[in-house]
Symmetry: C2
Subunit: 211 residues, 2 copies
DNA sequence: GTCTATAAACAGATAGAC
DNA sequence: GTCTATCTGTTTATAGAC
């Protein structure tokens, strides 16, 4: 009768091992789908890049599509939400939140090279497959809401009234930043890191003006 | 010795017929790549959707990739350039160019359902294949320049100084509009048609303010 | 739970008929 | 110049060994 791992807590239980396998496969899937696309990535490639065989993959996921969908649900927009939360908590009053947000986005564009392609792949899958469109749209809304909270907090602190629902503002800011990240990937010279915060500043100046 | 088609001008010469075949194949490729992606679209599907067989396709294009690249070169950004030119010529002083541009973009998002997915597919291909990145970036620059000319003309007419190079402004406007078009595809309710021109107005108000 | 081996379907690309 | 038939490699997915 082997009890719980009291002697060697490092050894993983079967359930933990399987969860870890899933985790590794999802990470590998993110990399591979980002670099090759849904159609271009093979399940064998994904499995081997994670250090497993196809069998292990199919023991954890029903098929290629379900693996993709699960990955999408897990991190469709997690990075943005994450970022917004960091800004929300970390910069309560100290530095310029717009500048911080801009810097961070430029970093995402440059350092997390799989992020934008993966987002694009998710978006494409959503617009091509009506039955998952609502799910992706909902995830996107979560990110937008995170951004919206940040905008609310910032304008409240500054004592300014934007004159329009912050939901609308968040939508525009979200679109702007996403567009700039993509353009920077294509032609870094045309989108210097400062442009992110600069563009935001123009937008908010205009908003306050028209309030 | 058969001379030129003097009797029945409707009959196409072999060269014309081949050109027409290429044209039809490219159109079909645009539809199919937009709906299924590069990896998901099969050459057979593309050929048959155009009313031809695979043989005809391979007689006109070296392979699937070259077909895709040729399509990309042909219309990577033609729609935007087109649109800018229409606005540039058509609205010399009459209506609000910002409102017209916004309306048009909303229409593109709603009516030309293959446009945005195809753009996304091109972008993905470019960031995944370094050897075509410069080509796509160059095409994108052409569109940006068209937009820039429109902005220049508009601000000149209005007698305002933007305070920043119009190249920079065009980059930001371009990113903003692209982001809104994509977001509208995902969740039309969050991006009403008026938002396109409204967002542009905020941006330009802020720009003029900071000049 | 994961691996190896394999089945079954499909893709891209070519050759020869017309 | 286009079509039909086919070759070849690769893909997804499964079955059975460990």
């Amino acid at each position: 009768m082997s009890g719980p791992d009291t002697i060697r807590p490092k050894r993983l239980s079967r359930a933990e091992a399987k969860l870890r396998t899933r985790e590794l496969l999802l990470e590998s899937a993110a990399r591979t789908f980002a670099r090759k696309g849904f159609g271009g990535a093979s399940v064998e490639e994904i499995a081997e890049s994670a250090g497993f065989s196809v069998g292990a993959l199919y023991s954890n996921f029903a098929n290629k599509e379900q693996l993709f969908l699960e990955l999408m649900s897990a991190r469709a927009t997690s990075r943005v939400t994450e970022a917004s939360e960091i800004l929300e908590e970390g910069n309560l009053g100290e530095t310029d939140p717009l500048a911080a947000l801009g810097r961070m986005l430029a970093d995402v564009a440059d350092l997390d090279i799989d992020f934008a392609p993966l987002q694009a792949e998710f978006w494409l899958y959503a617009v091509r497959n009506p039955h998952v469109l609502d799910t992706v749209a909902a995830r996107m809304r979560e990110s937008r809401e995170a951004l919206q909270r940040l905008i609310d907090a910032t304008s409240r602190r500054a004592g300014t009234d934007l004159g329009v629902p912050s939901e609308t503002v968040a939508t525009v800011v979200f679109a702007l930043l996403q567009g700039l990240v993509r353009q920077r990937r294509l032609d870094p010279g045309s989108v210097p890191p400062e442009l992110f915060s600069q563009a935001l500043r123009w937008l908010f100046t205009g908003l306050e003006e028209s309030a």
